[in-house]
């Protein structure tokens, strides 16, 4: 079963726009929710992460919003740039992130100038 569901599968955004990617999880034992960014031909790299004791975390143009009661979290990319074009994966883990990461299916983001 898919423990972490991610949507949309692909996203096209104009430069300067806001990109929003959503994830939902089932296991209430998850307590660490990272987002990974992957460029073609490269391995994923950590972008930003959140723990359930906060509802929002912001790093530059990237923000994670977390809704514990709904078991949902989302990535917002403000002022999207062509350089943000990549595949984004949400993930979840137990044990404060020390347990294995369970990934979503990925979202391919294309930002057009």
């Amino acid at each position: 079963q898919q423990q972490v569901k991610q949507s949309p599968q692909s996203l096209i955004v104009q430069k300067g726009g806001i990109s929003i990617i959503n994830c939902a999880y089932e296991n209430t034992a998850f307590d660490y929710f990272p987002w990974y960014q992957q460029f073609p031909g490269k391995g994923p790299a950590l972008l930003i992460a959140i723990r359930p004791d906060v509802s929002e975390k912001k790093e530059g143009r990237f923000t994670i919003s977390f809704n514990k009661s709904a078991k949902q979290f989302s990535l917002h990319i403000m002022d999207s740039q062509p350089g943000d074009s990549a595949t984004y994966f949400c993930a979840a883990s137990k044990g404060g992130g020390t347990d294995k990461l369970i990934f979503g299916t990925g979202t391919r983001l294309q930002v057009f100038p």
């Binding site: 990272p34 031909g41 391995g43 950590l46 992130g97 020390t98 990461l101 990934f103 979503g104």
Partner: protein
């Protein structure tokens, strides 16, 4: 500062052949993982290890084997290659640092085609 190194980068195998995907990390991380990435399917965990001598199955372990004799190395073995194992394989490592930020570092991937 190499991080996680995977070899080879590309490989074509014939059905029934065997091979080992190599993975080594120089960050002294306890945790190591093997994922496979298929289009539209995200990253599926094959096997993982929490330390030398300890391995455990992930979501899709069938057809694969691993070993962890040292902290640095975590090879993935395919014994009888099948077309369903055509995929991109990623090795990753992370450190158990309690409640601090935990980051998994990924290798560049191995693109495997079974024909």
């Amino acid at each position: 500062n190499a991080g996680v190194t995977q070899t080879p980068k590309f490989r074509i195998l014939k059905i029934g052949q065997s091979m080992t995907l190599q993975c080594t990390q120089d960050m002294n991380h306890n945790y190591m993982y093997w994922y496979r990435q298929d289009p539209g399917m995200g990253l599926k965990l094959i096997y993982y290890s929490v330390g030398a001598g300890i391995t455990d199955k992930g979501e899709v372990p069938n057809g694969y084997n691993v070993s962890r004799s040292t902290t640095e190395d975590f090879p993935l073995r395919l014994e009888l290659a099948a077309p369903s194992q055509t995929s991109v394989y990623f090795c990753a490592s992370s450190n158990r640092i309690g409640q601090g930020n935990t980051e998994a570092f990924f290798g560049q991937g191995t693109r495997l085609t079974v024909v």
